[in-house]
Amino acid sequence: MPAPHVQIRIPRQDSLASWAGLVTGALVLSVLASASFWTVYSHREEARRGRQAEVRAVARLLGASVESFLASDDVSSVRRLVGEVAREHGLRVCRVSLADGSIIADRNAKTPVKALPGTWPGGADVGDGPHERVDGSAVSIDVPLTAPGKGLLRLRVEADAAVPAFATPMVQAGLGVIGVGAMAGLALACRAIRRRTRAIGAIRGALLDARAGEASAAALAVSAELGPDAEAWNELLAELERLRGERLRERAAEQRAPREADAGAACDAMWLGVVVVDDALRARYANGAAAVFLGARREAMVGADVSGLIESPAVVDALRSALAGKVRHRVAHEVARTTPGGASVMRMSVRPLRREESGGAMLVIEDVTQQRAADQARNAFVAQATHELRTPLTNFRLYLEQLVDAGDGDTAARARCINVLTQESRWLERVVADMLSVAEIEAGALKLRVDDVRLETVFEELEADYGPQAQDKEITLAFALPPKLPVLQGDRDKIVLTLHNLIGNALKYTPKGGTVLVAVDAGAASAGTLVVDVKDSGIGIREEEQGLIFERFYRAKDPRLSSITGSGLGLALAREVARLHGGDITVSSELDKGSTFRLSLPARAKAA
């Protein structure tokens, strides 16, 4: 099956899945960013509170230390301690001042400081407890102090509580890595998701089209450039198309099978031979009748070259012309074939087959042998009838003219003419009767009128009819009859006709001085069956013609017969009559020695 023509299906815009991927990625990033921000903020607040606590603790401890040092008037230690603590803890302001505001110690060395007075001044109240104030990112703590035995003073500490979010290297590094990683991951994920979602989007579109009724694989295919998902989809479509094609072919074959089976059975039942031939003159199909007519086994014919079977160049040429498309109508030839059973005539008709995908031709074979035999018989009959009728009619005319010319005076001539006319009329009558009988046989209308047939009378009449003729030819005609002849049940006229034909032929084909014997089998006669042998010493019949002489209009090919008239119907009629009675006529003969014709008739005719 050819691969489906793939049309590129590329989404015109990013699909929803693509957008969903992007949105998801953005959300994830947002979450990450929010989490990072909160973490940083929380860390920062935590750090600020920690810083405040640190500053508070420093202020308390420093205050305690200052009180202790000032109790012993050690202001230098106080100044030193203030500087160290301020530096160590990053205090922006770290100042110790008296109640009157005089600064006695400050972290900033440039700040003028006063020496401790002998008597500490009184002043504003320094307050009860530490006062803490957070202003933005700065925290300031005022701690009232009391130097034992001296007086009141105040410690003021100020420091920045804010911790830069990104001041911590670890945070910076972590955030940097996370950020870069997240961006890279996002980019890769977007890219991958975009590619996948494009393919999935295209496939989704194809699925929706398929549900809407699109069935063409070409229309549903997606571009293979969209990745392995698209390739897998296209492969699935191709497989589906292949399966669909297979199913269609199976259905077509299922529908075709019964029709082909019917067609095959119909051809097998035909009495005409049918052969289907391909372009190489090989038989693709042959029915049983064709195998019989071509003298081949049916199984061996399929695939065989028919030109060797047909044995007719004209038919083979007709097949080639039909296969080549030169001839599109039926061409028929009659082909003579010689089979062991004799000559056969086959009408072979060739016609090209009208098919789109392949050529081929059909050969139809019809056995027309019997038709041709009937045609020949009819033609021979017409020719023979014409001849047989013309001769006596010619004699009729001649002898009538002589009779008229003879007048009343020439009695002998008149008598001779009348005799000839009588004979010719009888001959004419017999010929016509034979022809009518032939017609009746052809029409299947030859019927027997069954009655008692007294054979003694029959043979007496025959002897009287043929005695003079035998004398004229100096032929010895003898009748060997048993004392008692059976009484047959049959058609007397036709039995007499049969015996007339046999005896008449014997006399006709026996030369002068010969013998003709009509013998009735006494044994058969006593059993109620008539068996008559008509034996002559005539010209005889060739062995190969002994079976043919009973066919209508057949006359032996002996040149000696050319001078002997005959319709060729006598023996055919005689045998037909014998068989209608349930009997038969057989012959045994030797050329130049003579012939014996045996008539067998049952006592009772089989046919009515």
């Binding site: 029915n287 062991p340 004799g342 056969s344 042998t369 038709q371 030859l446 043919l548 066919e551 046919a607």
Partner: protein, 111 residues
């Protein structure tokens, strides 16, 4: 069983004489096959001299009819006796033959 043959034009008429029983069925079958091959199926079985047939004979005739039918031909049976015709009908094998009243009509069917 005596089997005679004669020709009517291009048609061979086969006339067996005697009862068609098991002992003779094979002989007649072989004869019919030989005639079929020789004459391309152009033959008539003249049944006028067959007084009766037993089951083996009927089976042989039915098989001969089937063999001819496979090549689009038919066993043409001419002039069967009334007894034989009844047997054909009773055994329902008459449909496998073409039965004619006489030989002439059977021969004419080849035209």
């Amino acid at each position: 069983m005596e089997i005679q043959e004669h020709r009517h034009g291009a048609v061979t008429v086969v006339r067996p004489r005697g009862p068609l029983v098991e002992a003779d069925a094979g002989t007649l079958r072989d004869c019919l096959r030989e005639v079929t091959a020789r004459c391309l199926g152009r033959f008539v079985l003249d049944a006028s001299e067959i007084p009766f047939a037993d089951s083996a004979g009927l089976e042989m005739l039915a098989e001969a009819g089937e063999e001819l039918a496979s090549s689009g031909q038919a066993l043409r049976v001419a002039a069967p006796s009334e007894t034989l015709r009844e047997v054909f009908d009773l055994t329902d094998i008459a449909g496998g033959f073409e039965i004619f009243a006489d030989v002439q009509t059977a021969v004419r069917s080849f035209l």
